[in-house]
């Protein structure tokens, strides 16, 4: 799930973006990990995550394979956390996304106490993760730094589009889609919540942060870069 590492933005812009994920290691601790992965997700619920996901089945907002025509006017935009938890049926990476450091800290404390034996990582600003570890009394084991994008960066879109698309690091949210959603919010054709929901449905592992996306769209409405 390096897909959470290269989110675009500076350290301060991640104040509402904390992805805590659990991953069993193949051949080390993946046997019998499914109930533990479910427990990990279940334990996140009291801390009000903004998304949950598993890398096989997706996040709490999913596309519908058989949509009724009338649902255009009454589309369900509520994240279905229960479907994510119930859907975990094989060893995989599961993630809980929070929009506040306090929630992430409290969740990490709970995970430590539960002693599941799974590998647990926090993906956010370096300071944010350090603070979570400090609050839980855990020294960091390893760190994977993002050095950002280099090479032919002229092929990249503007910063607001980049912030929206890189929240699905697998690249499932197209540049054109993110641009269109910014335009629709500016035109008043959709609310930031609606636009965020459309994009979140494309994220196939549930690490998209709808709260941060909504904020970025609100900013873009007034000041498109």
């Amino acid at each position: 799930m390096t897909n959470t590492l290269h989110r675009y933005g500076n350290s301060a812009s991640f104040y509402d973006d904390f992805v805590v994920f659990a991953i069993p290691s193949r051949g080390k601790n993946d046997k019998g990990s499914v109930p533990k992965l479910k427990q990990f997700l279940e334990m996140a619920l009291p801390f009000k995550p903004v998304n949950l996901g598993d890398a096989i089945h997706g996040g709490a907002l999913r596309p519908c394979r058989d949509m009724h025509p009338t649902s255009h006017w009454n589309r369900d935009m509520t994240p279905d956390f229960r479907a994510v938890i119930d859907g975990v049926d094989a060893p995989t990476t599961v993630a809980a996304v929070f929009d506040s450091r306090v929630s992430a800290e409290d969740f990490v404390k709970t995970v430590k106490k539960a002693d599941l034996g799974l590998c647990v990582n926090i993906s956010t600003s370096i300071d944010g993760a350090e603070q979570c570890c400090h609050a839980a009394g855990i020294p960091r084991h390893s760190v994977g730094y993002s050095l950002g994008f280099q090479g032919k960066t002229e092929k990249l879109p503007n910063t607001q589009v980049l912030m929206l698309t890189t929240m699905c690091g697998h690249g499932m949210i197209g540049t054109s889609m993110a641009k269109k959603m910014i335009d629709w919010v500016k035109e008043g054709r959709r609310t930031p919540e609606q636009a965020t929901t459309y994009m979140a449905r494309f994220c196939s592992c549930g690490v998209y942060n709808p709260a941060r996306a909504k904020r970025i769209l609100e900013d873009a409405r007034h000041n498109t870069k």
């Binding site: 601790n29 009724h68 990476t93 034996g117 020294p139 760190v143 890189t166 690249g171 499932m172 449905r201």
Partner: protein
């Protein structure tokens, strides 16, 4: 991926959805069409869009009437109204496009969903990157640009010449026909993918050398590169060795994934688990 022309109503929703911008409405046939050369088989159109199963003739008729009256459509933007997308039976070598582009498909070489491996995410049980070592992830094509394998080979060849070891349980390494020279299989070189991650490990003293090498080669590579650096912290949870090197090289360290060390080994260890391809440097 295919779009069934009998079903497509040319609503254009999928043209925005495609991460590679490979879908367009053909003005001659008036149907959405996929540029197969640019398509990376990520299945975003097929899996990511919601589907209705409306009658195509009826939808086309309504669209024509609205168009004549110059009425603007305001449909849901993430919906294919006629479920027109139909996946191909992919065969070699095109099938590698999907393996490196659709995160729902695990790589046979790693068993991990996505394009990389466990990296330092499981370092607390794998011990993949030890103190005094640095693990590099060099990712090509992300975000939203894509990459051809022949471009990746420019970097793997240069890294091989520098004598680095490639992570064995990595999808790119598994596609090398000659690991010591970083040569990829010839039959995949002209395949385009969403992104791929080359993983190497070196001793800390080579950190600057590797970064400079990547910087030297990247102007020849026609895509964007995302660089990740994995390190093992000391007993206090600090990294006082690698971060200062990166900052000295001009990087502002903003974001990281932090392994908090709660993992435990619960299965007998496999001695082959941590093998690296090529010489360990």
């Amino acid at each position: 991926m295919n779009i069934n022309p009998n079903k497509c109503v040319a609503c254009g929703n999928c043209t925005y959805v495609c991460p590679m911008g490979a879908i367009y409405v053909d003005p001659v046939i008036k149907r959405a069409t996929i540029d197969r050369n640019e398509c990376v088989e990520c299945f975003t159109c097929f899996h990511g869009m919601s589907q209705e199963h409306l009658n195509p003739t009826l939808v086309r008729g309504m669209r024509k009437i609205f168009q004549m009256m110059r009425l603007r459509f305001d449909p849901e933007p993430d919906v294919c109204p006629t479920a027109a997308f139909e996946p191909d039976e992919l065969v070699w070598p095109r099938v590698v496009r999907r393996a490196f582009s659709d995160p729902r498909v695990p790589h046979e070489s790693t068993g991990v969903q996505g394009r990389g491996t466990e990296e330092v995410k499981t370092n607390d049980v794998s011990g993949r990157v030890k103190e005094g070592e640095v693990g590099f992830t060099i990712e090509f094509g992300r975000p939203g640009v894509g990459v051809w394998f022949y471009e990746i080979q420019k970097m793997t060849s240069a890294l091989a010449r520098a004598g680095v070891s490639f992570e064995k349980k990595n999808p790119i390494t598994s596609l090398m026909s000659d690991v010591p020279t970083g040569t990829l299989r010839e039959d995949i070189l002209n395949e385009k993918i969403m992104s791929a991650i080359v993983e190497i490990k070196v001793t800390v003293d080579r950190t600057e050398e590797i970064i400079n090498l990547v910087r030297e080669v990247e102007p020849q590579v026609d895509t964007v590169i995302a660089l990740g650096v994995g390190v093992r912290c000391d007993s206090m949870g600090e990294d006082t060795v690698v971060a200062p090197i990166l900052e000295r090289l001009g990087y502002n360290l903003e974001r990281a994934k932090t392994n908090i060390g709660l993992g435990k080994i619960t299965q007998p260890e496999s001695p082959k688990q941590e093998e690296m391809a090529g010489a360990i440097m």
